[in-house]
Subunit: 380 residues, 4 copies
């Protein structure tokens, strides 16, 4: 790994230009805990656009690039070169960009999904595993909410017993461009729902991957086989926007995953419930500081972040119980924990999402695509 | 139809003896609006038990029977004989009992499901349709909640546009005998999860039928084809206790139905969401007096029973907004509306569930059973 | 007490004529558990109106009266005369009517408030206490919700320790006639907000009395002194419609009571929270089947009616956990328990509200009126 | 005002040392939007402690002070001196520190309350108004939640009409040291509940000031007179920990404010409801991204941050609807808006809280103290 000098980790960015929402999010996350300094980046293929935006972030002109390969080459040679690159381009390019930087022994923070398709995923996975000098994290940010980690901890401690059923859903409403800002919706339509850019399946890559990751992260299970039904609901888009999947998990638990970007009036609903022999757990992103623990034969417990029965969650939190944390606080956890790892500080029990989870999710999406086409159960 | 004399309809009961929960429910429902008088019944195959319990309800000794055929024969001959029989025996006997009374021109209130299997359902359906002298209702009681009817009304009025997706679930926790009263749980295990008594599928007959009925009732749609995965989760029972179903509706909408009686810590959760081109609707039984209407581009509306924007619901309600109604009030709606129909009063727009919905539900359950076995999509 | 012959208690009614909401409620409550038979009543001062409505309820013509004194005299002489009279006239006449029937040794079910003012209340209290032959209950129906009784049980068991603070509110919106039915609103305006009919304070008599009763019922405490601010908010009415009260309880706990019938968009909200040394309890009528128990140092518990940690609530309930009960079920509890008491059956631990609570509430309202006028703390 | 050079505003800090929660919060808020650079500070009266902590934040050794006067003097003389000082010491010292920096023409960000008592408040208010070179903001952070600002906007637009009633409460549980970390609780006891350090009233200064500020901020009203009852509930503390206040607002609206730090099991509950002639609004901090608008005669609207009917809230937000924001995002709004103001950028309609609100709140607290002692209504 490139050696970290001084207090702050030197961060480069590929993607996330001026109109990008996720770029904005990554930058706030990087700043949150004062662990990173953004010193370099590619923000557009157009040199002027990239340079202008980079400089608005306080990056020196000579470290604003318009080509990620050039950036990797030059930064790798500088004595004050970047320690980490954060990649936030469309899914189909995650693999090729990550591999380029890995070849230069630069650590990776990648936006999800892991790769555009299973083939890419396998290549990237191999590349990461073969370079012991670098570390990799994938921003499956929902897994970094304190109460999601509390849920994982409770499962590990056996609080709900053997898991029998998982019901997870992530539904949004933007397929038709149903956003306030017209600019945004146009951008979404121009690439988020076009196959050549996104990869295998739009809705599964975009948000279904988060839902599946959340399920395997909390439960510690994996899909053994799946049956999927993927569909295009909106007539305004060029790709699938709704998917429902039945899952057989590797412990024989059953599951349902539903994801959609065409669920009008079902705005941004990420919700997971896990049912075990001793009780159930429920977490919803809209109320992220709480976790319902429903023991089979006792009253429902509403665990609150940082409050007595949810002590574990304090490790992944910054402010007191009673005051809400949100999406950015959780996203920043991944940056914070990756920083600790890079600095070789003792980490937490559950650290940042990695390439193992990335590959697993890619396999899942691939299997779904096959199953939906062939109308049969498919093994992973 | 047998002529109704006086103010109250003469009601006979088959089933629902001293330990029966649903018997208790039917009797309160019959009493609620002062439209029925319980005058006759079979409450056990044991004459003494039946007579003792019947008399405790205020029924004359000579009209307490232990054999439903005998009851049908004698009551049909009496000048003050019953106008209606309410059947609340296990599913497998609904058809044969109902047909017996239909043969005597006695109106029928039947507990769900319509019949124990599709063959029985077809026979009963034909019998009902062929006798113009009688009326039939099936106590799919959840459809009689005021805000469920408000939901149906909003769908009919086009408030959410063409429906694209339906997500319905009914999950309970009692497969392992997870009840407070040990007596109850034993009784449940002794027949509710035994195939010869229940019929095709335990969990689908018991509560899945309610979930499917709710979906088709509110949406006005029907399943065109389904893919089902039925499973036995609990090791303590002798039959399936968990089922998940993907549905293609006849307007090309997709859907997911999940039902379980083994969902520990997921107690009695009946919930339905319908997503259309213009927005979505959500209703949950635990909070039955409210209905969420989420327009695609407006703030979520929380409609309340009897309050301004939910005027339609007033027709199926007894008390003012602000004061909660519950399960029994809704159950009683079916008795009240059936009474109006029997008295030929002008009815409501959406009256009691009938044999058409019964047959439809039986087809659905049969298709699920076949699909789960053959692991393929099955047409209804 | 008049001897009860047969299974059903003979019930007479004074008030609750054809347009009356509360009359409708009382009659359903009386019917709910099959313990009463309505055989007599005064439903109007107009003989024809009273007779017509009484007969529509199935009462014999000769037992439909238009004068409660006459009814008391005649019924007391009949061998099949009423055992109980249910009084549901405006507050100002509760005392005089109740006393008339008590003089004839007829048991009383009275709608709240206990009396129109404190002077009436003291007279009635004395009359009840002095006649050992009769029993009296006051339909402070909210105290009969199963989870309210669970709350009282938890307080008695010390689950929240010594109580330090009580916050109770009952707010409605109808002062301006803000109801769907215009007929209703006119009626409300014609007497509910007129002092000579209602008694001391409109809003406190109408619904504030319920809020105060709920507080003292659950906590077991009483107000030692109060500071009140009573106001008329709506310009369309002729009486106060908003009251806020600070309370010092007899254990030195503090409290706030807020009640209004002019809180637009705050429809029918009855909510109570009790804070003690070990934790707090919260109950809201809109979600009546649940009770939040928040221990000081543990996760919040959501107790559900009839479910494991809320066993006590099963005693005051009819249907299984998971299925909601409502306002009518709770109202009927008072009728059911009064019936048990009249039949001398072994009762529950917490039976129906009685004259002690009635007098206490009358004292509270009187003190509030004085305090608001004099702008100082007033002792009870 | 000291001239701002470069992109970032130079920020100095007084208070908020290593164990301070609020210091941590202020620093994240300052970092959030990349508008400030922390270059100087007093973090302890002990020079070594202050220097060590300051340097851990990346501050140069020579700009870590242990005396705020010295800091003001030196920084005012430097060409690269601080533009703004953020004060986060105990309440009683806010005034003297702020005045010292104002004298050096340094802008002020002050933690609440405005001052330790009314006398201090009046002095500080005068000082601020008399120096046209500086700007001042008070971190009444709850007013910076996007949906709180949406609420203010709706009130201004007349959506709920003339306000008749406000009910606001802020209740916490820590008086007895009821925190997870024992260290924290000790610190709290050592000064937060000691009169000489805190000022007039502990509970009103600490959190009651937030509740009152929220009420006047959203409503645009002020208290005309109040009646208060302040009490010490916990026996472990040395000062009041519970206060209830009745308010007459300057438009004749009534109100109740309740605040406590001894409400066990009522953790960190900040909630406000405003009732007007046309409907009501409700906001609770635990669910900060939503605002309930309950029109008098329509269904309740649940407005969501950034979603269609809550467009105004987008101005005070960073991420998309559907993804929760929290306490830190809101706190950072004040820093962000103050930065815009300092840079003379066009601001939002409702900018940061200022000295006018500070003085108003100080008057309120003073009046409460007097009223509680004299047991009578007190004018402001």
């Amino acid at each position: 790994m490139t050696k970290i000098k001084g207090k702050k980790i030197k961060l480069g960015i590929v993607g996330g230009g001026s109109g990008s929402w996720i770029g904005h999010v990554h930058r706030i996350a990087a700043r949150f805990d004062d662990q990173y300094e953004i010193v370099s980046g590619v923000f557009s293929r157009n040199p002027k656009t990239s340079s202008k935006f980079g400089q608005s972030l306080g990056i020196n002109k000579d470290r604003c690039y318009s080509d990620y390969k050039k950036m990797a080459n030059i930064e790798a040679k500088r004595t004050d070169g970047i320690n980490v690159v954060a990649i936030m381009t469309p899914p189909g390019s995650h693999q090729i960009i990550a591999e380029t930087f890995i070849n230069k022994n630069i650590n990776i923070i990648s936006d999800k999904p892991f790769a555009g398709n299973l083939k890419q995923a396998k290549s990237l996975f191999k590349k990461i595993k073969s370079n012991k000098k670098i570390k990799y994290t994938l921003t499956h940010n929902y897994s970094a909410y304190p109460m999601v980690r509390e849920a994982k901890d409770l499962v590990l401690k056996g609080k709900i017993g053997k898991i029998n059923f998982i019901n997870v859903e992530y539904v949004q409403d933007w397929a038709d461009g149903n956003r306030i800002t017209k600019n945004n919706s146009k951008k979404i339509l121009s690439w988020k729902l076009q196959k050549n850019i996104v990869g295998t399946s739009s809705v599964l890559n975009e948000i279904g991957s988060h839902a599946y990751h959340l399920a395997i992260y909390i439960s510690g299970l994996k899909a053994k086989s799946i049956f999927a039904d993927i569909k295009q609901v909106s007539k305004k888009v060029k790709m699938d926007d709704n998917a429902q999947v039945m899952i057989n998990f590797n412990n024989d638990a059953k599951g349902i995953l539903w994801t959609s970007v065409s669920a009008k009036g079902g705005v941004y609903g990420l919700r997971i419930r896990l049912f075990g022999e001793k009780g159930s757990l429920e977490w919803v992103q809209n109320d992220p500081g709480y976790l319902k623990l429903n023991p089979a034969k006792k009253a429902s417990r509403l665990l609150e972040r940082g409050f007595h029965e949810a002590k574990f969650s304090k490790n992944f939190s910054r402010i007191k119980y009673g005051h809400p944390e949100g999406y950015l606080d959780a996203f920043a956890n991944i940056y914070r924990e990756f920083a600790k790892s890079l600095k070789n500080k003792s980490g937490y029990k559950y650290v940042y999402p990695n390439e193992d989870e990335g590959l697993e999710t890619a396999k899942f999406i691939e299997a779904c695509t096959v199953s939906s086409k062939r109308k049969r159960w498919v093994k992973l």
